[in-house]
Symmetry: C2
Subunit: 264 residues, 2 copies
């Protein structure tokens, strides 16, 4: 049994939840009481992790938001890893992928240096660009198939001549032949995600719940054979107002927002 898939299944069963909390630090949206600068950002994220632990199956820090804080931001990402117990999955959203020896370097950074249990990669460069990630048998790699942004129209939905199917389905079918333990990133409409989950028969990550896509409940897929994660970030991390709220009120607000997401 794959250690990360196993952990996802166990946690989903234990919590009765498929919630993955996306960690996208946006300094201008963090309440003032956390303090300024990187220290304030780190305290904010520590608090978010602490509040979400009883509800979340996984955390999905997006490495690009940490990089945008400057190189120092990556040390924040590195330290946060230690707050997450091994009941939970630490999924670093990197969307990497490159030719052989570069992909080896990418996997080494995300898995060995930053301690990711799982990550995301782009399939565009093909099998040898993903293989070095799949070679980590105790980690889980989610390959982009269908994303939830408008731009998914341009290439992911191109109809492929040979099969008459859109590219994103070709990606799922082809990548499944590379590994028995690979996941997929799937967004789009509810019909798309349901179809993708049944086609993939693999772990699936559905991003952008709450802001980009539909509600949490409507993304729950009935009858999935593998763990499905519903990822929420802004709808939990950032209230529409309340930059002046105090510590205790912040914790209550985040808990209310988690409940609101789970009922949405």
């Amino acid at each position: 049994m794959h250690p990360v898939i196993n952990r996802l299944n166990r946690q989903i069963l234990a919590l009765g939840s498929q919630l993955c909390v996306g960690l996208d630090p946006q300094p201008e949206r963090i309440p003032h009481f956390f303090g300024a600068g990187l220290v304030g950002i780190e305290r904010f994220l520590q608090e978010i992790i602490s509040i979400c632990l009883p509800y979340a199956v996984a955390f999905k820090p997006n490495i690009s938001f940490f990089e945008a804080l400057g190189i120092e931001g990556l040390y924040v990402l590195e330290r946060l890893r230690y707050l997450v117990p091994d009941t939970h999955v630490w999924l670093i959203d990197g969307k990497r992928g490159d030719i052989g020896n570069t992909a080896v370097a990418q996997a080494r950074f995300l898995f060995d240096e930053l301690g990711a249990d799982a990550t995301t990669v782009s399939p565009y460069m093909g099998r040898d660009s993903v293989a070095p990630f799949l070679a980590y048998h105790d980690r889980l790699t989610y390959v982009l198939a269908l994303t939830s942004n408008a731009g998914s129209q341009q290439f992911q939905r191109q109809i492929c001549g040979a099969s008459g199917e859109p590219l994103w389905k070709e990606v799922i079918r082809e990548v499944k032949t590379w590994s028995n333990a690979v996941g997929f990133v799937v967004g789009g409409t509810h019909a798309d995600t349901t179809e993708a989950v049944h086609l993939a028969q693999s772990p699936v990550l559905i991003p952008g719940i709450g802001v980009q896509g539909g509600g949490y409940s409507e993304c729950l897929i009935v009858g999935a054979s593998s763990p499905v994660l519903l990822s929420v970030s802004r709808a939990i991390l950032y209230p529409s107002q309340g930059m002046d709220m105090e510590s205790e009120r912040f914790r209550l607000t985040v808990e209310e927002r988690i409940q609101a997401v789970l009922l949405s």
Copy 2:
């Protein structure tokens, strides 16, 4: 006139060269006299830049190789930037791309924090995943079209139903409608690259000369209307032997290898 394209054209004319030197630090291949650890790696790269300046149009550090050294490796990348005068182009090979606000963060890191004049992105997620890079009008973004690795067979060469053309040509055609100043990464056979250069009528980066692809001379494209860069890394950086060579011998060897590449 676009400042980076202008600089490429001027430098190609001035040097009579299209050479782009790829900086992929591989610690185990650096001669011993540079010293151990990150300090040795930084001294090695400083020396490579110094030797290559009279011959190269651009330098292409691959960010993944710096990350694989640990977060500290990114400070090396940040400092090297100051060694490159503004006659040359500093192209950080990142192969990024993500939904809107994440791509904004990625562009900020590469362009603002690390000072890249140019970078590379994957097109898989479509227009809005590339737009934040194109919004930097004084920088140049190369979009992956056809790469030189075996995996380019799987998706890049899929025939698209609507046009009957391979996906990589759809990428070039579609991306050209997004911006007047965008570049493309093109590998593959000589026939492919020639076709791509003429189809793109845009700046092109041809990677993997010497090791992955063909020789330098056979990749020279006659009649290109925009600057074409031929990127070489391992064939210049790493001799097949000579870990014990001394400083002066190293400089001569690298110069000999540059000449050998230019004649290959």
